[in-house]
């Protein structure tokens, strides 16, 4: 009887197994029931965007000039992101200035016909010194209005209006605020001295910040964009300046020896910097008022250029503890340090990406530096610049989509921008002298 039971149980189990197999296999067969063809390469690696000239909403002749300027500025601003291919206006089938800037006069099918996936239409009215602009972003294929805004400001607010709309549009499309409310700090020798300058994200409106007629280097933005720390040789030795940008106040940390390479802790009024008052270069954690909180590194040798992970839980820095300058990561909770870079004999200027997964740095190769990106887990590294002068001091845009850096590819050092994938490398601005040490700000509160 026992044998009979065993046979029965074994058969019962088999039936169950077969049933489960049938349940699992049947959908797989159904899924594989279509012939699949692989498409691996998009024909266009950008989104086609049409920006026709904006419409003048009143008979004021001044509006036409503003309408053209604003449409061009919007095209330029959207193209700067690297996301969009701006379509040639010569290919447009209809002119919103004649048919209207909203449906039903505006026929979105006329825009899909020329391949536009997105369309921005605008209307401008100028009355006295007041500028009013209404801007709309359409998904041409879905026939949907994605963003529609009306702005009122002074005539000189045109750039601000366009940037604010672009910011809205990018937020709608990507979920990120983009870069339009950010600035770049950099060092320029235009006055024969190394002074710190600020300019818009696209290189527009460069303004000199320091006037010490000395050497100012290594600018670093605080998370709220209100403070800038940098090293200045104004007193003859490298001191650390922590400066409030709006209120024109700050402090100077002038300890014996070096006071260099500041880096703000994300979302805190604290920063790390290298000090050498003990005779050895070590990284210290400081308050925004320049008081030492604690010593972070404890290794004889060089420890410089700290950069923080977005959550502030880790800090990358350059150390020669392994023989040559290499990038290391310190876990702030445990104090443990691990070496990140192993390729190359000289890796420096680390910059932690805002998304937290990568670190950009400069690596010496045949006498020139190149920009590299490495995963925080050590994956990669990937070289982003190739055989184009010396490329140094990478800094991430606040949304992590772009990297600014300095390059000597055209002779004098200039500030360049490229996408995070290393494509579309272009010069940001050309000023007298040489420009180095770029530092991209976080999102700044709109004025």
């Amino acid at each position: 009887m026992k044998l009979y039971n065993r046979i029965f149980c074994a058969m019962w189990r088999s039936v169950w197994l077969v049933s489960i197999a049938v349940v699992l296999v049947a959908p797989a067969r159904a899924w594989a029931g279509y012939q699949y063809i692989d498409i691996t390469n998009p024909f266009l690696h950008k989104i086609p965007l049409a920006v026709p000239v904006f419409k003048s909403l009143t008979p004021n002749p001044a509006e036409k000039k503003v309408a053209l300027e604003a449409a061009d500025l919007l095209s330029h601003t959207m193209a700067f992101t690297g996301y969009f291919k701006i379509l040639d206006r010569g290919t447009f089938l209809e002119d919103p200035r004649k048919v209207g800037i909203v449906p039903p006069g505006l026929k979105l099918s006329n825009w899909t016909a020329i391949g536009a996936e997105l369309l921005v239409t605008g209307g401008v009215s100028v009355s006295g010194n007041t500028l009013e602009m209404e801007l709309r972003l359409y998904d041409a294929f879905k026939g949907r209005l994605l963003v529609g805004k009306r702005y009122t400001g002074g005539l000189d607010d045109e750039r601000k209006i366009i940037h604010r709309f672009c910011s809205e549009a990018i937020f709608k499309l990507t979920g990120s605020r983009g870069i339009f409310n950010s600035k770049i700090a950099f060092v320029s020798t235009g006055t024969k001295h190394k002074e710190i300058y600020l300019c818009d994200f696209d290189g527009y409106d460069p303004q000199q910040l320091t006037h010490a007629h000395s050497i100012a280097i290594s600018p670093a933005w605080s998370s709220d964009g209100k403070w800038l720390a940098y090293t200045s040789f104004a007193t003859g030795k490298p001191d650390l300046y922590i400066r409030n940008l709006k209120e024109n106040r700050g402090i100077i940390l002038a300890k014996t020896g070096l006071n260099i390479t500041p880096a703000w802790v994300p979302h805190q009024f604290e920063l790390a910097a290298t000090l050498s008052f003990t005779g050895d270069q070590e990284i210290y954690l400081l308050t925004g008022k320049g008081e030492i909180i604690k010593r972070l590194t404890r290794q004889w040798g060089i420890d410089v250029s700290p950069t923080w992970s977005p959550d502030g839980k880790q800090m990358a820095f350059v150390s020669n503890r392994s023989g040559s300058p290499q990038i290391h990561i310190m876990d702030m909770a445990t104090g443990k340090v691990r070496r990140l870079t192993y390729e190359g004999t000289y890796n420096a200027s680390p910059s932690w990406s805002p998304k937290g997964d990568k670190i950009a740095y400069e690596s010496l190769d045949n006498g020139n530096f190149n920009i590299m990106v490495i995963g925080v887990d050590g994956s990669g590294p990937y070289q982003l610049t190739h055989a184009a002068g010396s490329n140094e001091s990478p800094t991430w845009s606040p949304d992590g989509s772009l990297i600014a850096f300095s390059s000597t590819r055209e002779g004098p050092s200039r500030i360049y921008v490229m996408t995070a994938l290393g494509t579309e490398q272009r010069c940001l601005l050309k000023l007298p002298g040489e420009q180095t040490d770029p530092s991209w700000s976080p999102h700044l509160a709109p004025n």
Binding site: V22, R29, I37, I39, H45, P48, T174, A420
Partner: protein, 285 residues
């Protein structure tokens, strides 16, 4: 000794270990019946009438299509550039023979300019070589002119013409012989060509910014489109979404942009076709 009542077992929901032989027998019979149905169910896909429509996955490299390969092999112009080739590879030599291009009558200079020993080049008198080369060229031109008058049609052109006529025949055969095996095969070929053609069309309309999507990980979206005989896209749906809204939307836009697709070529007898497309931009990274 404990005795278990049959009723208790049933309530407890366990399989009775002891009892009359009738119940296990019934289960066994039921099992045999189920197994038979199951086996028939498994066997059905392997029956011949089902094999014709058996699903399969094909992977087509859109970069190197066979059509282009033919086109690349066609130009015979290379054959005439004899002066620059000292030792043509055997394949090229065969090609030369095919087109019957006349070799120059005298090529003593060729020995001297063998690429295998470039150092011997300066030893030869340039004057002598130029003189001979001129004669060779003149003679070759005369010969080519002569042969061109009585020339046979280029065999490559003939081959292309043959392929063209075969394709025309295939298309002409169309629906009339669709019922035969040969006709089915032709229809399948025409359908396969059409599938590749429309995949190419959709790929041309695919705009996707990896940078904007901001995700370097490998993603893939699986879409099935239903196309009518006139090329109109009747429907499309995602069999598997990529998990990235931007990629999925770019795929949907590419399909919308491609509507309508070219109509079915002659020979495709179905009223509509289902085509699976696997969009994976990560494949190129």
């Amino acid at each position: 000794m404990k005795h278990t009542k049959p009723g208790e077992n049933r309530v407890a929901g366990t399989i009775p270990s002891e009892g009359g032989p009738s119940f296990p027998m019934a289960v066994l019979l039921s099992l045999i019946g189920h197994l038979s149905i199951f086996l028939i169910f498994i066997a059905i896909p392997f029956l011949p009438f089902h094999r014709a429509v058996a699903p399969r996955i094909i992977s087509v490299d859109l970069v190197s299509m066979p059509v282009k390969a033919v086109a690349r092999a066609r130009p015979p112009a290379v054959v005439h550039e004899k002066r620059v080739t000292s030792k043509p590879p055997p394949k090229r030599a065969k090609e030369k023979a095919l087109v019957k291009a006349p070799p120059p009558p005298k090529i003593p200079a060729r020995k001297a300019i063998s690429l295998a020993h470039p150092k011997t080049l300066p030893v030869r008198s340039m004057k002598e070589r130029t003189f001979k080369a001129t004669r060779v060229v003149e003679s070759a031109i005369r010969r080519i002119e002569h042969e061109s008058r009585h020339a046979q049609p280029n065999p490559i052109d003939k081959a292309i013409e043959k392929i063209r006529s075969e394709v025309q025949k295939e298309e002409a055969a169309g629906r009339s012989d669709a019922v035969t095996e040969q006709g089915k095969e032709r229809a399948q070929k025409a359908e396969d060509r059409y599938r590749v053609e429309i995949a190419d069309e959709i790929q041309r309309n695919w705009a996707y910014s990896e940078q904007m999507a901001g995700d370097p990980k490998k993603l893939s979206a699986w879409v099935v489109i239903k196309v009518a005989a006139n090329g109109k896209i009747l429907d499309f749906w995602f069999e598997k979404r990529s998990g990235n809204a931007m990629l999925d939307e770019s795929v949907a836009r590419a399909i919308q942009k491609s509507n309508p697709l070219p109509p079915f070529p002659q020979g495709v007898t179905d009223s509509s076709i289902h085509l699976g497309l696997r969009f994976s931009p990560g494949g190129i990274q």
